[in-house]
């Protein structure tokens, strides 16, 4: 680690330092506000640093990591989501009796894990990023130490541990075959570059690695944990599982799928330039396509009659990751741009939805049953409006961010000639409408029964929620500027 590396990795360094500082602060004196302040400042500073880093320093960190435009974009997304979750958590934890300070240490470490995944180009950083993220999440999911939280964490840990073992074993096989653990020497999708064709052992290794990746993304058939963990975890942590964990892993998949076009910067003449275009006979392509289709249908069908809002969002996220895999299959700059844009819209809408759930969850448990939302429009019109916007966006109705995101996915898919997937995606959006509208509908019904008292919403939470709602609508109405940004950052280059 040279000084230059530290400068390149400054966003990660800031977050790691904030985690250590928060822990030291706990040792000195327990104070919820102070710990939260350190954590949020750290996240905000790192986010600001990302913008500085655009001009300051980009490049490779040894052969383990790269800080390029795509990495900065995903890091920005991860940090922004963590910041939102952190602010939401402050109000949420204030209403609970559990000690809150360690929460922020784990939150920062989860952000760190996600960022490591975003910069990873080597199995070591891939694995460590995955584990830092996972172990922090195990702790966060069980943080309340209630029955459901602990049960959820146990399930997550047992399955996550198994999945990690698959990933590691797969890495071993790939390394055995290829003699390298750098992604674009593995070229797992293409097999026509690098040191010789991809052997059978390496192929199986790649597939085993995808078991772990699929587990994190919660795609069929590795999806079964999703709903239980979403339900059992505290609402802000669920938001984290839904966004940061999946987004960072997806960014990693994108990088693995397309290699890195700028490898020449570091690796000289041994580098290859991948222009995209998946070899259709590659078995990995068919496996991913089958998983995408199965995820779309399974997620939507499981959500259809779900009456628990957190579980409903869990199932809906399965189908959304199925949609995103279509972009992965497109590969190349078009796929990465579509996936990046869709990730932004998915993050915004998901965080908005869980923001509402968090804001409504008081000292007496989570607001997760559909019953809790009945008649919300008449009691908390602003929250109901935000939830409506989030649901419409997830359903992909025009004038919301979700529609534009779907539009980019569809054009990318159609451009690559993946018509079957495109049509299945459109059909699934139709199925999705049923259950998203059910939530909206419930909020606009009048309810006759006496009403539970709703928690008050703090200023910071209110500002964050309003910002999320505005973002969803703004992206939906005028997506041009964001699309330019995503193209510039996800499209590649320094």
């Amino acid at each position: 680690m040279t000084g230059e590396d530290v400068i390149i990795l400054l966003p990660l360094v800031i977050v790691a330092a904030a985690a250590v500082a928060a822990m030291l602060a706990i040792a000195v004196r327990r104070s919820h506000a102070a710990t939260a302040g350190i954590a949020l400042t750290g996240l905000a500073a790192a986010l600001a640093e990302v913008l500085v880093n655009l001009w300051l320093k980009k490049g490779y960190v040894g052969h383990l990591a790269v800080m390029d435009n795509q990495a900065l974009f995903v890091i920005g997304l991860v940090l922004a989501a963590n910041l939102v979750v952190g602010i939401l958590s402050y109000g949420y934890l204030s209403r609970r009796r559990e000690r809150a300070e360690e929460y922020y240490v784990l939150l920062l470490l989860a952000a760190l894990g996600g960022m490591v995944l975003a910069i990873s180009i080597h199995f070591a950083t891939f694995f460590l990023g995955l584990e830092v993220l996972s172990v922090s999440l195990y702790g966060l999911v069980a943080y309340e130490r209630g029955r459901l939280g602990v049960e959820a964490s146990l399930k997550y840990l047992v399955l996550g541990g198994t999945a990690s073992a698959f990933v590691f074993f797969g890495m071993g096989l790939v390394y055995f075959d290829r003699g390298s653990m750098i992604f674009f020497w593995v070229d797992w999708l293409y097999g026509q570059y690098g040191p010789g064709p991809l052997g059978l052992v390496a192929m199986v290794g790649c597939v085993m690695m995808f078991v772990g990746i699929g587990f994190k993304l919660a795609v069929v058939p590795f999806h079964l944990w999703t709903a239980d963990v979403y339900q059992g975890a505290p609402a802000p942590v669920t938001a984290l599982v839904a966004t940061v964990s999946k987004g960072a892993v997806l960014a990693l998949v994108l990088r693995m799928a397309r290699g890195s076009p700028w490898a020449g910067y570091y690796f000289g003449d041994r580098a290859v330039y991948y222009s995209g275009g998946v070899c259709p006979s590659a078995p990995v392509f068919w496996i991913l396509a089958a998983i995408a289709v199965a995820s779309m249908f399974t997620g939507n069908l499981l959500a259809l009659r779900q009456r628990n809002v957190k579980r409903l969002l869990a199932y809906s996220s399965i189908s959304h990751l199925g949609y995103l895999l279509v972009a992965v299959l497109v590969s190349g700059a078009a796929g990465a741009t579509a996936a990046g844009f869709y990730l932004v819209t998915y993050f915004a809408a998901t965080l908005a939805a869980f923001g509402v759930v968090t804001a409504l969850s008081g000292a007496n448990g989570e607001a997760e049953s559909l019953e809790d939302y009945r008649g919300l429009a008449w009691r908390r019109p602003a929250l109901a409006a935000l939830m409506t916007v989030a649901m419409l966006s997830l359903a992909g109705i025009p004038l919301t961010a979700g529609f534009v995101g779907k539009f980019y996915l569809l054009t990318a898919g159609a451009g690559a000639g993946l018509w079957a997937l495109v049509i299945i995606l459109v059909a699934n959006s139709g199925i999705g409408l049923f259950y998203y509208l059910r939530v909206v509908w419930a909020m606009f019904e009048r309810r006759a029964t006496e009403e539970k008292e709703l928690p008050r919403i703090g200023v910071a939470t209110g500002v964050v929620l309003a910002g999320l709602g505005a973002a969803v609508v703004l992206i939906g109405v005028w997506p041009g500027p964001l699309a330019e940004l995503v193209r510039a950052w996800m499209g590649g280059g320094w």
Binding site: L64, V105, L106, T125, L128, V132, G139, G146, R147, V204
Partner: protein, 173 residues
């Protein structure tokens, strides 16, 4: 070397099979330690003396102590053994054994048809010095991240295992 490898491999497989099937947690733990020690022997035979040493010190030593600790706290005695015999009916093994066997079959098939084709380089000893140079040279970022990983594990475990404070909320969720 070859002898050491094959003996270790046989011991490791046998001990591991016993871990998975034992009813008494303490016995299983002892077999697990044996299995880890045998794997350490294989590491040594494969020319990785540092890994072998760490396997014994950290894995069989430190990590297993955590398990021992848990077994002590949970105080599973005869009662636990009786329960295990209820849980571990032979029928319970059908599905898991089948899945594990199929996976093993696939892997062996792949290794037999894929790995043999590649000319295997015979192991040479990669000593502690080289490993250390790699760990704190190109892999320094990884070493730093491991510390963060351990920090996460520590904070999470500390928070979760702490007693009291939640008792008044017992049974609420």
């Amino acid at each position: 070397m070859q002898g050491l490898f094959y003996v270790s491999a046989a011991v490791a497989v046998l001990a591991t099979a016993l871990v998975v099937t034992r009813r008494n947690a303490a016995h299983a733990l002892l077999y697990l330690v044996l299995s880890l020690a045998a794997v350490a022997g294989m590491f040594y035979a494969l020319g990785a003396p540092l890994a072998a040493a760490l396997e014994v010190i950290v894995y069989a030593g430190a990590i297993m102590v955590l398990f021992v600790f848990a077994v002590m706290v949970l105080a599973l005695g005869r009662e636990g053994e009786r329960q295990e015999s209820q849980w571990l009916r032979p029928r319970m093994w059908l599905g898991p054994a089948a899945l594990a066997a199929v996976l093993l079959g696939e892997l062996i098939y792949v290794l037999a048809s894929g790995a043999a084709a590649v000319a295997g380089g015979t192991p040479v000893v990669v000593g502690p010095q080289e490993v250390g140079a790699a760990l704190f040279g190109p892999y320094a970022l990884g070493a730093e991240l491991s510390s963060m990983l351990l920090l996460a594990g520590m904070v999470a475990a500390y928070h979760l295992a702490r007693r009291k404070q939640m008792d008044e909320k017992e049974g609420e969720r």
